[in-house]
Symmetry: C2
């Protein structure tokens, strides 16, 4: 039997009340691991995209959720929005230096997920013989 410990594992890894519910780190963690946030950030890795390109890249995202996600990342300084003064309007999105740092940490996670997802979701092999 494992030794039962009474301390909080998370607070031992991250002391000083980090990742408690009202903590800034919890807020930013929620932003960078949000359902659409991860895909938006990784989509912008190394390139500048227009709204429509970003929306097609993050397949399945609604206009509302994409707008909300981008606004959050602009406020956090992870994504830069550039509106060119042309008609029709032309708006481009790219990562900031801070956004680059996050994507460098997210990209290996997505690579792992891409390599392992099918095996994880596959039904467990069975020893029962195939029906003939």
């Amino acid at each position: 039997m494992a030794v039962s410990i009474e301390v909080s594992a998370l607070s031992e890894l991250f002391p000083g009340g980090l990742f408690t519910s009202a903590c800034p780190s919890r807020v930013i963690l929620d932003h960078v691991t949000s359902k659409w946030g991860v895909l938006v950030l990784v989509s912008l890795k190394g390139r500048t995209l227009r709204w429509g390109e970003l929306r097609r890249s993050v397949e399945g995202v609604s206009e509302k959720m994409l707008a909300q996600t981008l606004k959050t990342f602009e406020r956090d300084g992870l994504v830069a929005r550039m509106a060119l003064p042309v008609i029709p309007p032309h708006v481009e999105y790219s990562l900031t230096a801070r956004g680059d740092e996050v994507v460098a940490l997210l990209h290996p996670l997505l690579t792992w997920v891409a390599a392992n997802a099918e095996a994880i979701l596959a039904p467990a092999p069975t020893c029962a013989p195939e029906p003939t």
Copy 2:
């Protein structure tokens, strides 16, 4: 002006339809980046915890969400649940080898968030003089 590209950035980084909406990789990404999932996995890094210890570690999680998160991770083979045949019941949770792999990828992200969250959420400095 950046060159406008018509391809999907995400599908260029991850070819073969990865991370499209019905894809296994999208499902598993949602699991390992879920609001509580990240904190549950990182809490179990290098240790075995009982239900109550885990719940205190992931401060703010409801019983329902913790149960749901653990069930998903058991099904995905990321977390192992061990029920000891004692009275009162004693259930322990730990990472599997596959769970260890995910945590090795999540931990640097949380470390970055812990180091940067306050600066991200701090109000931007202003040049206006302090009111006297």
